[in-house]
Amino acid sequence: MIVVKDVHKRYMTDKGPGKWVLQGVSLSIPANTNVGLVGKNGSGKSTLLRLIGGVDQPTRGVVERNCRVSWPMGFGGGLQGSLTGRQNAKFVCRIHGHEHDIPERLVYIQEFAEIGDAFDEPIKNYSSGMRSRLQFALSLAFDFDVYISDEVTAAGDAAFRRKALNAFKELAGRAGLIMVSHGEGILKQFCTAGIWLDNGQAHWFDDIDDALKAYKSSQTV
């Protein structure tokens, strides 16, 4: 169960505080529910996702997570360019309390990412595809109750995308999922409930179809 209480968010710009992105969002997301976030570009989908994932802090309000929530999958901010893929993966294992089984996790990550010897190369030499492979493998290597994903299935080449999609299906079966996607098919495939973000407000729909309908009708006007 994730509870979002009256969350406001605006970013600091070079010229002082910017516009409000979220204004008073209140939600509670039940456990083991797959939720899709919809809304037009700039409506605050990624911002809300980052707040739920704890990557960023709300300007006002609170986010309560009573379960283990992943960092946004495929988010690469935490990777250090001068370190190798292996060193970065070790770091993530350590802070998640997996000091004792680092070797097994590393094997899993290396195999899933399929980047071969590049695993021992500094990350700054990676292509963007290799990077997203590593990031995706990293998020899958740990067990969370709720996974957060921001357009993650769009990463990598066709073969990897297929593999990622399969892993994702397996994930959706055993854990909760909160995802942002512009692909209607993907949302319908994975999500049961939906959240529509509009003008800094969030609207909850028990059925993802209703959320998509509301979102579309707002666009045609």
């Binding site: 990557v55 935490g78 802070i95």
Partner: protein, 261 residues
Amino acid sequence: MELDRSPISITFSVWKALFLRESVHRLFSSRAAWAWLLLEPMVHVAFLMFIFGVIRLRVVGGIDTAVWIMVGMLAFFMFRRTGTQAMNAVGSNQALFTYRQVKPVDTVLSRAALEGFLMVLVAVALCTGAGLVGLEVIPMDPLAVLEAFFGLWLLGLGFGLVTSVAQQLVPELGKFVSLLMTPLYFLSGVIFPIYLVPQPFRDWLLLNPVAHGLEAVRLGFAPHYQAVPELSIGYVYVFALTAIFFGLALHVRFATRLAAK
């Protein structure tokens, strides 16, 4: 994943991970990055010894000029490197706050620990080298030297804790603090002996705790050294612990502001 990790065990695993990560980055990020750690104080010391050689000053306060400079320089670097590295820790590790386990204060603490550790290695290496060319580098009172070095490290930590928050809240302050470091280098008595400064100016200089720390380290190396009579190692520790307390309080107060973008 262990389901119930206590907050303290999470913090310890984060510290360990950060320490290892920082050390790999600091020592091996570029070609022979570790060599620069040694080279910077070495070049400083060599240059100053050249200058003092030209003006033919062989003895300062009763001890060999070379030892006097080297020891003071190492002590000052202990403070400055710890301080500046810790100050920039939050800014340069911003991306790591993606992982909720990592708090801004963790990055400051682990950087300060790493820098203190590296400075001890640098000091040992430099002293060994100086010993090989025939200088008297065996401290007569090793405990006093350690006490003073540790005090300077604590000062650096306190400085870093306070400035890391200040710099994030008001970015301009970071530049101001960097400007302050050069005058501090002179005011701490790294390259001139403070006991030569007449009163009342000496009292003003001795408001600076780093100057006390430097004199204490030199006194530990050679007990016959004519340190300033007002020297107080207690002042260093009180100043440092106050700064650390204040810095930690700032980190608690602004924890969310620091991690937010």
